[in-house]
């Protein structure tokens, strides 16, 4: 397939897969916000999600596929890029490249590690089996996701891991959002500052939104 062989084609794949995952992240954030509605809120939401298992499987497989593509091509492009620039300069100066833009591969891989932990923790519930929602049901007989989350984030280390995880994701998105917009060509001189700004706002919302759960629970603001 030509798209996979061409430099721009590969970047478009990065952009499209990235965007899809970003959409998922936003939906995920909105869904998780139901925790602030108390145990009934998030447990209802979780039950609803699991109600249609075919749909859930399809979404999960799509995300898995996109994620693999994203990681695969991200690594491939980075390896090629490093090979194209074997030598740096004695004085290292960046005029517009940022820490985030230069470390996409590392923030990306760390996010991948975080996602694996996150899946093991909340989705497969193997890291902390004592609080697994599969095993504990709420008053209405549903998986007690609420209790699982609250009990988890009362642990300092788990809360910290989540804050760091979404922090790194934020860093990744701080470059990734505007970069993907540019890659699919949605850029012009007029909208460029707007793209930079909206990208910035979006990743800050995502970071603050996700980190609010562990922080609120750990500090006891939310019980």
């Amino acid at each position: 397939m030509y798209l996979l062989k061409n430099s721009v084609g590969r970047k478009i794949i990065m952009s499209v897969t990235g965007f899809t995952m970003l959409t998922f992240v936003i939906v995920h954030l909105v869904g998780n916000a139901s925790i602030y509605d108390g145990p009934d809120g998030i447990n209802t939401y979780a039950a609803a999600l699991h109600h249609n298992s075919t749909f859930l499987l399809a979404v999960r497989l799509t995300l898995l596929g996109f994620c693999s593509l994203h990681v695969f091509f991200g690594t491939l492009l980075t390896l090629r890029n490093n090979a194209a620039k074997p030598q740096g300069y004695a004085v290292n100066k960046s005029l517009s490249a940022t820490f985030a833009s230069k470390n996409m591969i590392w923030t990306g891989l760390l996010v991948a590690v975080f996602i694996i932990y996150h899946l093991l923790h909340f989705t497969f519930q193997v890291t902390n089996p004592e609080i697994s929602a599969f095993k504990h049901l709420d008053a209405k007989g549903r998986h007690d996701v609420f209790t699982m989350i609250v009990l988890s984030f009362r642990h300092l280390f788990i809360a910290l891991a989540y804050v760091c995880g979404v922090g790194i994701l934020g860093l990744h998105l701080s470059h990734g959002i505007q970069s993907s917009i540019q890659t699919v060509g949605l850029n012009s001189r007029k909208i460029f500052p707007f793209i930079l700004k909206s990208g910035m706002i979006l990743w800050i919302i995502i970071f603050l939104g996700f980190s609010s759960f562990p922080i609120a629970i750990l500090t006891g603001i939310f019980k």
């Binding site: 084609g9 478009i12 890029n81 740096g88 540019q182």
Partner: protein, 250 residues
């Protein structure tokens, strides 16, 4: 002014290179950067040492031959200025200046500060043209071009092909160079005919020549002596997507 220079010296393409220290004494602020190097070279020749080899030709900022990285920035600290147009009044007495060649895999060093940029020519040969035959062109006013399109095409066409974008890019990518040509021609009716083929051929050639991929650091735009904008890269991306959806390649 007296300056200390740390200059990249390399005997030949496969030889090792390193920074060597030189003193530049009695430099006038009215000198251009290259004239300062001329003075240093005259001194070296008199001492029987080999002068520093560097590429230069028009010395008025249009031919794109000069190619030096000064204190980590291709073409030096002044915005939108080639090395030959950079003047010593932008430095201070006693400054230490690091002078290196453009570094990228696609730009092997030939000697000292001279690199081989023929890879850029081969990217152009892959498709950076309109297939117009000599003779038989229709009257120049037969096809009208809206002023705004002509202006944008001209903005892109100002690229001097110096390769600073490649030198500045952490990925050694020639995307800004390629995009400037693609955007120049795609904005004109004359260039539309071959647009789909052009963007594919040129980006393929870019990859085959060992240039990296664009990851939107925008360093290229920051160092470009002609102010070529990264929005042209977005234009290239659009042209590429168009080529994949509207026409069969080849």
């Amino acid at each position: 002014m007296n300056l200390t220079l740390y200059v990249w010296r390399q005997k030949g393409p496969d030889k090792p290179g390193r920074l060597e220290e030189y003193e530049a004494k009695g430099i006038s602020p009215d000198m251009s950067f290259l004239e300062m190097l001329d003075v240093v070279n005259e001194g070296l020749i008199k001492k029987g040492e080999e002068p520093i080899a560097f590429d230069h030709d028009c010395r008025e900022g249009i031919c794109g031959t000069c190619s030096q990285v000064i204190n980590g920035i291709p073409h030096g600290p002044q915005e939108k200025t080639t090395v030959c147009q950079l003047h010593m009044r932008h430095f201070r007495d006693g400054d230490a200046i690091y002078i290196e060649p453009f570094h990228a895999k696609a730009f092997p060093v030939i000697k000292d500060l001279i690199v081989d940029r023929s890879a850029l020519d081969r990217v152009m040969q892959a498709g950076g043209f309109v297939s117009a035959h000599t003779g038989g062109a229709p009257d120049a006013n037969a096809v009208l071009v809206p002023k705004s399109y002509a202006n944008v095409a001209m903005d892109a066409a100002e690229c001097i092909g110096c390769g600073a974008c490649v030198a500045a890019c952490p990925n050694g990518s020639a995307m800004l160079f390629t995009a400037a040509k693609v955007a120049h021609l795609a904005n004109l009716p004359q260039g539309k005919v071959g647009a789909a083929r052009r963007v594919c051929m040129m980006t393929d050639a870019m990859m085959n020549e060992g240039f990296g991929n664009c990851s939107n650091h925008y360093e290229c735009q920051a160092v470009c002596p002609k102010g070529i904008r990264v929005q042209f890269i977005a234009k290239l991306n659009r042209e590429f997507m168009k080529s994949q959806t509207t026409t069969r390649r080849d």
